[in-house]
């Protein structure tokens, strides 16, 4: 079944306390070399039928009204390609 992915991230100018907490925890766990972390949300939508431009536009409306807060978050909509699963 086709899958559409919506990524929702805090806008660059918005503070991201979750990302900051992760960034602060990394050196305490012995991890180095990461200069910044941002945390957002990922939605995977299973769509009935083929993923047309109309479907992607409809998903963009869902992202704008339900999945994200456009005041503080950006979103991207894309069709999922093959993903290298690592775990």
């Amino acid at each position: 079944m086709p899958r559409v992915v919506v990524d929702v991230m805090p806008k660059p100018e918005i503070l991201d306390p979750q990302g900051k907490a992760v960034h602060g925890a990394l050196p305490r766990l012995g991890f180095t070399g990461v200069s910044d972390v941002r945390q957002g949300k990922r939605f995977e939508l299973e769509v009935e039928g083929p993923v047309t431009d109309e479907v992607l536009a409809e998903v963009a409306r869902m992202a704008e009204t339900l999945l994200s807060n456009p005041v503080i978050e950006n979103y991207t909509v894309r069709i999922e390609e093959s993903v290298e699963v690592q775990a």
Copy 2:
């Protein structure tokens, strides 16, 4: 600066109440044609220096110990390509 993305999603056999809530809200907002929704997390890590295989392996260890709960979540690690921003 190179960016590494870690996507963390609930395992397929694990209930996903957040995704279920989103899925249930869509028809109430007039959206149809979506048969399932899963919600997970997306982390964007800014890495110092080039993204080598060692860096990706280190990020995978971060994902396993800090960013995900391996009992109930899967993660993927990848280098971010160009993204079509929609908002």
